[in-house]
Amino acid sequence: METGKRKIEDYARETEGLSMKELISLKAVEVSKGYYIEDMPLKRERPLDYEIFYAELLEIAKNARIIIRNVAGSPMLREGGECIAGIYTPEGDAAVLSIGVLLHIYSMSECIRFMVNNDYEENPGIKEGDFFFNNDPHCGGQHSQDQFILTPVFYKGRLVAWVGGMSHEMETGATGPGGYDPKATSRYYEGLLLSAMKFGTNDTMNSDYRILVEHSTRDATYWLMDAQAKMSGCIFMRNEIKRLIEKYGLEFYLEAVQEIIEDGRRAAQEKIRNRFLPGTYRARGYVEAFVPEVFPTKIMQTSLEMKVDKEGVLWMNMEGTSPETPWCGNGTEAACKGTFFCALAQCLVHDCMFNAGSYHALRFNIPKGCFYSCSLQAGTSKYIGNAGALLIGMLFEATSRMYYIGCHFDEVMASCTATCAEVFAGRWITGIPYAGILMEMICKGTGASATHDGVDVHHIYFNPEGDLTDTEINERTWAIKILGRNQRMDGGGVGKYRGGVGLDSVYFFLNNKGKAEGSFGADNYYVPATQGLMGGYPTARRIYNQTFNTNIKELFDSGKEYPTWLGIEAIEGRGPTLIEKMLEGGVKKIAIETAQPVFPIQDYDLFEHAVDGSAGFGDPLERDPQLIIKDMQKGLTSPRMASEVCGAVIEKTGPRQQDLKCNYEKTAELRRQMKEKRKKQGIPAAEYIIQQRKRILKGDLPLHCIELINSLLEFSPSWAKWYREQWGLTEDFRAIPLTTKKEIDK
């Protein structure tokens, strides 16, 4: 079709009578040419109508999310806002999305294509009033807890759209409660995985589906209530789309949706082209694979190379990423692409018309067999909490460098750590079951910027509109009582600007009938999940404490003080935690590994979870002392951190926590001395490389580091080549020798 000669009604005419398969093939041809549609007659000829239509369509998706959130039953949706709604083309491309869990723009597209590729049009058939459910990450989504439903929209017998709603659910009938078992080595531990299944007809949930969920999960209440909520949101969108078609006409509607996506592509590419210098931007990060009692923790590397070309296309290359491992943190390729979009929707195209169009500005190389492109059998239930969240943080980091070079300093945001989950199941004293994920940790801090500190206890990567659930709601949902919620002192990465801090939460169990069960799955324990930016540090380590059968009840009964946070002595490394100081008897497990298989819980067992925050930006010796004082007054920075890491001499001027001032003269002198010390202790890079090469050749590295490196050397030839070049190793170097300490010393 010649540009400029296309008419508004052409698209409707050209695609009339085509099957979904044919529509997808047609679109694939156009996308391969670098655009979604070549010409935009509607925007050109009726620009105001086009803009008004877009605003109306977007409002439909936004309102649908509000409906889903308000009709839903689970606190994760109602309080945490873990849902999203979207409107798709018949071929499955997202035209508009509400705000929410942005991971799923791609998920629902992937699911529509999955159904088409598997001939759902013939069997089980796709017709008005049908509802499809998916929580299988191989058909779209990130893990079993991501549950979305889709329904087609027909107008006078013609398929004109798909609408979908997604939510994050708390119980899926896995071998561990909450849809997650740290001991999972494959998908067969991960509960009820329904692969794009028709679960509703004539706008009604099928009874066999309801019974399946009720019989296969510990507590089906929220799954089913939220499914009804999503159906309500979808029916609302379907009716509203028909209203729009009546208002604007079918030809207008079909053309407008195509142009909205093309507009999204053009806006994304234009932004990339106009704001960023062409070049290659890189990031890397580490997560820990763990299967308690099966294999010890091992480190997994994620590599990202993001190339900006002169046309404004982003080429994403993940060569140098570790291979799939039999644990629960692998990702499917669809999940990985969803992760990319989630990050870029927040840090790159947030001010564009973001939809499937911005996705078409991306090109991918996700190596087959890496743990972001896993096999059908692989476990994925913890993907987004670990590997996915890490990748989002890395994308923030890489785009932050692009923004910095483009002098958009306020757009810089250092990486945020991955998430974690405490999952429980039990029975209330009344006998009613409960199961799910405690979302105490959902809000973390944002990463530091180049112009300001991160925001404290505020944000989670996969849902920029996430919220910390109310204490009262949590106490109503699970048989727990929350004793303390504090912004964690020294929890964010230190720097010229510090990362936002996470939450330090202490809670105990009460009103259980018999024993409950819990498990805990978090991100890194041994290595940081974040990287500081330009001299900033990563975050502190996450801390998880458990206590069983202690004297906590006696403390309550006698009105004595009880632990509500870690305590400054533990934070400054000069004493025990408050749990250790205040509680007696029983078993106290302090700062234990953050992957804990299912364990029994009874009333008065107490737990503490001090979440890490986000990474810092810039040299801490350049931190404004007034910012340090402000943090110390709020209990966010310890005196040790202020003096020993930030080199600030802060003096007390009175008895109150607020009574502080900076001695600028002494601060300047201390900082000068600290910089001199750096120059003495640092060695030239060339010398450092020689030292490291010797260690590598001798095998003088910790075993878990050797295992990581050797697995990458074997899995990725291009990474192996780069590795040898960087350390000056010969071409025949294949692996780091596994040697004993004695042999190394010799």
Binding site: L277, P278, G279, T280, Y281, R282, A283, R284, Y286, I299, R401, Y404, I405, G406, C407, H408, Y525, Y526, V527, P528, Q531, M534, G535, G536, Y537, P538, A540, R541, A570, G573, R574, T577, I590, A591, F617, D619, L621, E622, K675, E676, R678, K679, G682, I683, P684, A685, A686, Q692, R695, I696, L701, P702, H704, C705, I706, L708, I709, Y723, W727, I736
Partner: protein
């Protein structure tokens, strides 16, 4: 030499930095905190705001820095720090002024990573 594509914002910022630092060499790009790509005698090099020169902009500036392996528990002590047997905070300092230019938090034995490789030619 080909002209570098610079936005109005970049032009304005680099002009201000040029004035502030008072260098003879033209600032082309503000690469990261403290570091600039400047043009000197027809070559593009990385230079710290203290005046220290790291060399050709295509080569990772880290090869011209001072390097120190820091124990994570120096920053976050006791239970709050990551395990020094698994990870190292590899710090890069400017040899001229001692500014901390980068911290790579990596397992032992992992090479330096060049974060940015611009295509200015």
């Amino acid at each position: 030499m080909a002209e570098i594509m610079k936005t109005e914002l970049m032009e304005k910022h680099t002009a201000e930095e040029q004035k502030k630092l008072g260098w003879q060499e033209k600032i082309l790009v503000h690469l990261q905190e403290h570091l600039y790509i400047v043009e000197r005698e027809g070559k593009k090099i990385v230079k710290c705001d203290c005046g220290y020169e790291f060399g050709n902009y295509k080569t990772d500036w880290k090869f011209g820095a001072l390097v120190y392996d820091r124990n994570p528990k120096d920053i976050y002590p006791g239970i709050t720090g990551h395990d020094p047997d698994w990870t190292v905070y590899r710090e890069f300092y400017c040899p001229g002024c001692g500014a901390l230019l980068d911290v790579e938090a990596v397992p032992h034995g992992i090479p330096f990573l060049q974060y940015v490789e611009l295509d200015l030619d």
